[in-house]
Symmetry: C2
Subunit: 300 residues, 2 copies
């Protein structure tokens, strides 16, 4: 299985997810910006704006390759050339009761010669949910769905990848997660071709879980009424989301440091965010209750 | 001259600046949050909110000391203990025609014993302006004022510190400055006690320049009418400001990594910011004209 085969499937995933999200939204449609990377490869950034539900969302496909950038050389020391391909998604809904969602699936391949055999390769990815107002049933449903998807491939995956997600998506300086977690995995290195097929099947399953799991969670919450107070809390949580992405997220830093396409990398940032000095939720308010969800917890 | 003498002057500077800004605003007043640092020292965070002009502003004094944190050990290798004191200011006005301003003045002292003599010491600081809609006359006035303040101490200061500021406050991934610059300086190490007095006089002069220079610039612009369009552009520029502070600013990273008081460190972030996918100003618009100001240029 070549990187082109994998990239081609990622591209088809982008298409099926944008279609699924357009159906879910019912009003807005994605526009596509196809871009080339001077040093090799390119991508297709698809953005949806001002939908019925989706205020700002991006579903990005990319397949870039060429000489290994200095900043990722440490990931696989000896290689001189690389391929990186994947799909990356962030959705910011307008309604504060509808969660933000993020998904990424990716594949890296290292080579000593531009067209030589792969000397190293791995899959990575994850999917995580960031509700401003978490509903326990939704959080359990989300984690249960991910666990079932993982379990169909390896019963060891969910417990490991769930903890990895809790740790990765922590806003260290706030001592809390940016949301309610999900799964995160990286450097899944196939041992042989059969193993590559097996890991690819797992990554495909995660990719295909996105539309049904998010559709269910959106539909459960899209008609809930909200006001100024809920918008303000959403802006605060979006501010924290921004802090995570700009201070800690490795993918964002990788993109900024490798001269990536800025508008595609920072499409993950919210349409509006706010920082209110020393905001403390009122005791026993919905907002205070939300905070308990942003600490690691078993959900299934 | 001891670090206590310098810290005491910084505290009086905080007081005179908050008074000056309250007079300028005419409506809101600062509230004070005094805080202690568990490992030694503390500070006084003063915040103004929802003023006539000042939507969100902070004037922070701090004097912290103790065992040298790992993250700054590289700044002065051998020392085991440190004192850091300073005043840090960021003002976000509501009216998009009134510039954001930032100032910082600081003093560090390193010691081998907690109460031993200083083995190393330096002053640092700077003041820079970030208008969403730069007016050439204002930018020239701002730089001229800073140049005159510098020139009274050393004619070499302004040219050097102006370039340093242009470089430091660059949002590398956007290939532009966060504003129109000003001056920035660091590691000004006194050679002897007379030199310490001389550098301290310079730092005091910069601190005392803040209220008059900002008052003039605010008063020139505070009555200009604005609408949705100007607010949107302001949100975009504030988004860039946020990117700079969270991705590049050493002071912010220092604070986050040394377990500083989060609300004091992140008081610099704007009350509201926005990220609009691939926003491009219209040709010949006020917004497009603004962009030319965010590249290094001689202003005096």
């Amino acid at each position: 299985m070549t990187v082109e085969t994998i990239a081609s499937w990622f591209r088809s995933l982008q298409q099926s997810i944008t279609s699924g999200l357009e159906t879910l939204d019912g009003k807005a449609v994605f526009r596509s910006d196809v871009w080339q990377r001077q040093e090799g490869g390119g991508g297709d950034t698809r953005v949806i704006l001002d939908g019925d539900i989706l205020e700002k969302g991006g579903v990005n496909f990319s397949h870039v390759h060429g000489v290994m950038p200095e900043v990722i050389r440490s990931e696989s020391r000896s290689a001189k050339f690389f391929h990186a391909t994947g799909v990356s998604i962030v959705i910011h809904p307008d309604n504060p009761y509808v969660p933000v969602i993020h998904m990424n699936v990716r594949y890296f391949e290292m080579r000593d010669e531009p067209d030589g055999p792969a000397t190293d390769a791995w899959f990575g990815g994850g999917i995580d949910l960031s509700p401003a107002y978490p509903q326990e049933a939704d959080v359990r449903f989300f984690h249960q769905t991910l666990k079932e998807a993982c379990d169909r491939h390896d019963p060891a995956f969910y417990p490991e990848f769930k903890i990895w997600c809790d740790e990765y998506f922590t806003i260290v300086h706030r001592r809390q997660m940016r949301g309610v977690g999900g799964i995160f995995f990286d450097h899944l290195r196939p041992e042989d071709e059969a193993d590559r097929e097996r890991l690819f099947r797992f990554v495909r399953e995660i990719g295909e879980t996105f539309v049904p799991v998010y559709t269910e969670i959106v539909n459960r919450n899209r008609n809930r009424a909200f006001g100024e107070r809920q918008k303000q809390w959403q802006y605060i949580r979006r501010g924290y989301y921004t802090e995570f992405n700009l201070v800690y997220d490795r993918g964002t830093h990788f993109g900024l440091k490798t001269n990536g396409r800025i508008e595609s990398i920072l499409m993950s940032l919210p349409p509006q965010a706010g920082w209110y000095y020393n905001f403390q939720p009122e005791e026993n308010s919905e907002e205070e209750q939300a905070l308990a969800f942003f600490q690691p917890k078993e959900w299934v």
